[in-house]
Amino acid sequence: MEIAKGGQSYLILLVLMNLAAVGRVLSQEDVSVGGGAVSSSAGWEEENGTGAAPTTFKVEGKAMVPGLKTLEWIGDAKIIVDHGAYLGFFRMDGSFSLYVPSGSFVVEVVSPTWAFEPARVDVTAKGKIRARKVNLLQIQKNDPLPYPLRFKSKGRINYFERREQWRITDFLFNHMVIMMVLPLVLLLILPKMINTNDPEMQREMQQSMNMLSPNKDLPDMSEFFTKMFGGGETKKTTTSRKVKRRQ
């Protein structure tokens, strides 16, 4: 055996046996007491019965997840009071009961899959119970909830972040892409769209170009410099070339 590594003797504490396919019937041949439901006797309780200590009170409630059968979700769910001071387990029908002393408690349904809103339960010394919403900021605020407690799931708990998937739309509507693509489109496609052979259009363009081009009356900076440093003849050639190209 693997565990014999320690080399020491292993004391075996607990042994259980099971016989395969053998029914276990107790050999009590003569059970004489008759059947029937056992009824509780009131006299007993008065004489000797102490029951649960009188300081604890029973808090009851029920929880549900909309659209789900109870057995489908209670397997790993439980009730905790004051974050683990007391525990409660769900019964088959989703109901639960807790035994708490008097005081104020936060009762919450803990389920790894379903989210529930916690409730604050106030139990007076006489055993009067009321329920209200948990408000940690204003402790005295009374937002009453029905008692017996009713917990209804708010929905599935989302533990995971959505992984970003690469979509072509994300790429296209990225502002960097738009900034790069839009001027490109204007530059390439717009001139193609405008019919340059139309004389009307040509005239219009000419006009707009004239508008755009610097005012002829104002001295152009480059011309000013050429005038200053170069000869006077160059001016004419440059302007004539410009005009030529435009046509």
Partner: protein, 940 residues
């Protein structure tokens, strides 16, 4: 942004600022990352009671009740848990009784205060009965059967606690009868419940006034139960040492350890006991303290008497005689099973199983002393085989550490060459040849790797665990309170090695000391760890040194540890190293004597060098005093403690609940915080600072007080009080801040307070810190937040260089493990935010903290009963590895500042490379097109 900050850690401040400003503080995981780097192991604890499933014709399950108060169903073929319910903790023994018959499964726990009936198939609660007696011993319980239509069925559940007998309906759990066992101030113990064959219920209790009290309960239809009490004088009986059992034909047999005798009587009508001494039965050796008696099987006439731990006797008892049927030496445990025609008795010995009938198949569930749960199945012949085993000792880890794995063979050779200063001086030629040979070997290794890649080796050779490039894989060394040591592979939680020390136990507070004296970083020397525990028999200290990566003891002659001749008060790993890179461990005994392990001369010389520089502190939790000591080496080589300071905390009614130092050798990368006006607030980084939390009640008001004490001088640096606040307090202390979680009784909510300490203005020596030369008290900023839940443990993340932002790990009561970035708990969060705060990246103050499910590392798994969180630093600066342990084990990685030093796993290599390729192609094509165009133009 912070612009041209003057801090030397500017890039990181910029990075942090960028993160804060642009990334919302969630570090959620993605759904496809489930199980990628986390694992979860569910345990139930040491089994106390077990029953094989009878509700279905083919038995598949075992119902168990454990010492951790867990009720669970185990699949008997695989050993996996079918369902599990963790009940409220409280008493040390766990589940009292598990009763199972037919479709009824009833568990009794908390000394009879909680009786619950479960549906065997689904584990759903059917009914429960809760009381508040607070008994200090386990209850006895019995399923009472009645007969209906000639078939017996479970009618009710009888529970006998120390004070009360209750009979609860098996249908809905309502209390049918509740009667006090003792009338008028009488006390006693050792009770037995028995249902006689005529259906009558008997309870037998031994009174402390030398009498045996027998109460019979008869069910009267329509009236309930009727009780008849008989008191039989028995001068020999005492509640402490007497054990009783009732046989199938209603004979009460009691064993009495003080007189070493057996007493028998008829339960139904007997009026006096007849005694038989053990000597007269022919036995001459027994251990009185292990004397115990038990019934062989319900309804059988034989009883088993345990004479010693490994000696049983099978007896047959009648009302006035006892006969020995069989002497069973060398037997540790026995049980019986019922077959169709006869009872078979199985004796479990250390080595073999003896049985009388080989033809019937059987399975046996064994709980070993090391809390391993074994399922044995009989094979042909006399051999059995282990179907599965569960290492339930891992549910009670008392000390844990994460050790780096050893480097691979190639790297170790490299280490051999450069790592260690070699003792002999090598000539240049020798060094050259050594270099060449190493490189050749490296080349060979590379060739081997290629070969392995080309055709994977057919034989699966289990390679020795090696460190991965980022040092993410560790060896988890866990010491359990059962005395079992485990080495777990952190990649998947598999057990790599295990070692059993049968004679150790925890110290009073449930702790053992585990120290890693030498890590794997010092290659030619093997790593070494030391466990300091208590010896079971004597209570003295026990020291066990072992290799944490293999589990082998260092000292092969002392395989179960070395027993010390003193009681351990405290054990500490000293912050010095000898020339073999071994940290010595110092053990302080109960007389304040000092013992150094290993006591070699090299260690002592190192201590002599550091004479008076090593300080220790001891806290007396009851008297709420703190005492500081300095370690001094005397001339004759002896080491002793000299008291340096003594501090009695001002409120004597308060008890110290925790003393938290900063983590030893904690790296803090950034020395200060840059404010928006470009000035720097320097952190008060006192490595000797202790956070001491005391709790108590002063004038009927619960009070929490926190002291920050310098451990070298005993100076109280800061203290603060929370009125009407109480524990449990969880406190973490790191860098220049302290965060603690407590219950605010005034507002009935949990709160988290953060204290951050900064240097007060003025000159300071930034390179070295000395507690003895600082006088100025730090500037303390504090803020409190409302936390919506209680906690079961709290820890802080830790990385290799301390560059990564810190994150708190909180174990929530619903079984979740939550991360909370430290920058959310920032005492500088303003109530009215200004532009400066925004620039600095401080959020506005919001009093309530929320639990965002995306910050739960455990996603939809519930980690039950977390008691501690151990955090190790990975080789990657961004990553810490986290082990949460308690009843369950959970392991994962955290990246508090996201993965800034490696590419994310969802990094789109395809996208990036396709864009690059596309760009290159586009460049080539456009270049070609442009060339063609210019050519065309030239021809025009």
């Amino acid at each position: 942004m912070t612009g041209q900050g003057q801090g030397f850690s500017l890039p990181w401040i910029l990075l942090a600022a960028a993160l804060v400003l642009h990334v919302p503080p969630t570090s959620g995981m993605y759904e496809d990352q489930i199980g990628k780097f986390d694992w979860h192991q569910q345990y139930i604890g040491a089994v106390r009671q077990a029953a094989f499933d009878q509700s279905a014709p083919v038995s598949k399950r075992i119902f168990v009740g454990t010492e951790s108060n867990v009720v669970a169903a185990i699949n008997s073929r695989t050993g996996q848990l079918a369902w599990r319910h963790v009940q409220e903790r409280g008493d040390p023994w766990g589940v009292d009784v598990v009763l199972h018959k037919g479709n009824v499964l009833v568990t009794v726990c908390s000394g009879g205060d909680a009786v619950r009936a479960w549906d065997p198939a689904s584990g759903t609660l059917l009914w429960e009965f809760l009381a508040k007696e607070k008994n200090d011993s386990p209850a006895k319980a019995l399923l009472v059967e009645g007969k209906q239509d000639e078939r017996s069925h479970v009618e009710s559940v009888a529970v006998l606690t120390k004070k009360t007998l209750r009979i609860l309906s098996a249908v809905d759990g309502h209390e049918m009868v509740s009667t006090e066992v003792w009338s008028g101030g009488e006390t006693g113990g050792t009770s037995v419940l028995h249902q006689a064959s005529n259906g009558q219920l008997y309870s037998v209790s031994i009174s402390s006034q030398a009498a045996v009290q027998i109460v019979s309960y008869t069910h009267v239809p329509g009236k309930g139960y009727e009780a008849v009490k008989r008191v039989i004088p028995a001068g020999w009986a005492s509640p402490q040492s007497t054990q009783c059992v009732v046989t199938g034909d209603n004979v009460l047999v009691c064993s009495e350890a003080s007189t070493n005798s057996l007493h028998t009587m008829s339960l139904v009508d007997g009026s006096g006991f007849s005694a038989v001494t053990l000597l007269s039965l022919g036995f001459n050796s027994w251990q009185p303290d292990s004397l115990a008696i038990s019934a062989v099987q319900v309804g059988r006439k034989e009883v088993l008497l345990r004479l010693a731990q490994d000696h049983y006797v099978l007896l047959q008892a009648t009302a006035d005689t006892i006969t020995v049927l069989k002497d069973l030496p060398n037997v540790y445990a026995t049980t019986t099973a019922r077959s169709q025609d006869r009872d078979i008795m199985f004796l479990v010995t250390v080595y073999t199983f003896l049985k009388r009938d080989g033809s019937t198949g059987y399975r046996a569930l064994l709980q070993m002393e090391d809390q391993t749960l074994l399922m044995l199945q009989q094979l042909q012949g006399n051999q059995g085989h282990v179907m599965w085993q569960r290492n339930e000792a891992l549910a009670s880890i008392s000390a844990v550490d994460q050790v780096d794995l050893p480097v691979s063979e190639t790297e170790s050779k490299f280490e051999e060459e450069f790592g260690e200063e070699s003792e002999e001086d090598l000539s240049i030629w020798q060094m050259f040849t050594r270099r060449i040979t190493t490189q050749l070997e490296q080349l060979k290794d590379l060739a081997d790797k290629f070969e392995e890649y080309r055709k994977p080796r057919a034989k699966q050779v289990e390679k020795q665990l090696e460190r991965d490039p980022f040092n993410l894989r560790k060896m988890i060394v866990a010491v359990t309170s059962a005395g079992k040591l485990y080495g777990l592979d952190s990649a998947n939680g598999d057990i790599v090695w295990q070692y059993f020390l049968p004679n150790i136990r925890c110290f009073g507070q449930g702790e053992m000391y585990l120290f890693v004296q030498r890590t794997t970083a010092h290659f030619p020397h093997p790593p070494q760890a030391m466990l300091v525990a208590q010896d079971k028999a004597t209570g003295n200290g026990l020291v066990f040194t072992f290799n944490p990566t293999t589990g082998q003891p260092v000292n092969t002659t002392a395989t179960s540890g070395i027993l010390q001749p003193f009681k351990v008060l405290q054990a500490i790993l000293l912050p010095v190293m000898n020339n073999h890179h071994l940290h010595p461990v110092m053990i302080v005994d109960s007389d304040h004597g000092v013992h150094i392990f290993p006591p070699s001369s090299s260690v002592l010389s190192v201590l002599k060098k550091n004479n008076g520089k090593i300080f220790l502190h001891a806290a007396d939790l009851e008297k709420s005093t703190l005492t500081g000591f300095s370690l001094t080496t005397l001339k004759d080589g002896k080491v002793e403690l000299a008291q340096a300071w003594h501090l009695s905390l001002p409120i004597p009614s308060q008890k110290i609940v925790s003393v938290v130092p900063r983590r030893a050798n904690e790296h803090v990368h950034s020395q200060g915080r840059v404010l928006s006006d470009r000035s720097v607030m320097y952190k008060y980084l006192n490595p000797n600072l202790l956070a001491v939390m005391t709790e108590g009640i002063e004038r009927d008001i619960p009070l929490l007080t926190l002291y920050l004490v310098d451990a070298v001088t005993g100076q109280v640096v800061y203290s603060m009080q929370h009125k009407r606040a109480s524990g449990p307090v969880h406190l973490v202390h790191s860098e220049n801040w302290v965060v603690y979680h407590y219950w605010n009784g005034k507002f009935r909510r949990h709160e988290v307070t953060v204290l951050e300490l900064f240097e007060s203005q003025g000159d300071r020596n930034s390179t070295t810190f000395s507690s003895l030369s600082t006088q100025s008290l730090p500037l303390v900023l504090q803020q409190a937040y409302i936390f919506p839940m209680g906690l079961s443990a709290m820890a802080v993340s830790n990385t290799e260089r301390g560059i990564t932002a810190r994150s708190l790990l909180l174990a929530l009561p619903n079984g979740g493990l939550m991360t909370l970035p430290k920058n959310i708990l920032d005492p500088r969060r303003p109530i009215i935010p200004t532009k400066q705060h925004q620039e600095e990246g401080v959020y506005p103050y919001i009093p309530e903290l929320h639990v965002n499910p995306m910050t739960l590392l455990t996603y939809n798994q519930s980690i039950e009963g977390i008691r501690g969180i151990h955090i190790g630093a990975a080789g990657l600066e961004s990553t810490s590895v986290v082990l949460a342990y308690g009843l369950d084990l959970f392991y994962t990685r955290i990246m508090p500042s996201q993965m800034f030093d490696v590419l994310k796993e969802d990094f789109d290599y395809f996208f990036i490379s396709s864009i690059l390729l596309g760009l290159v192609l586009a460049t080539l094509i456009t270049h070609r097109l442009a060339a063609m165009k210019t050519l065309n133009r030239s021809w025009r």
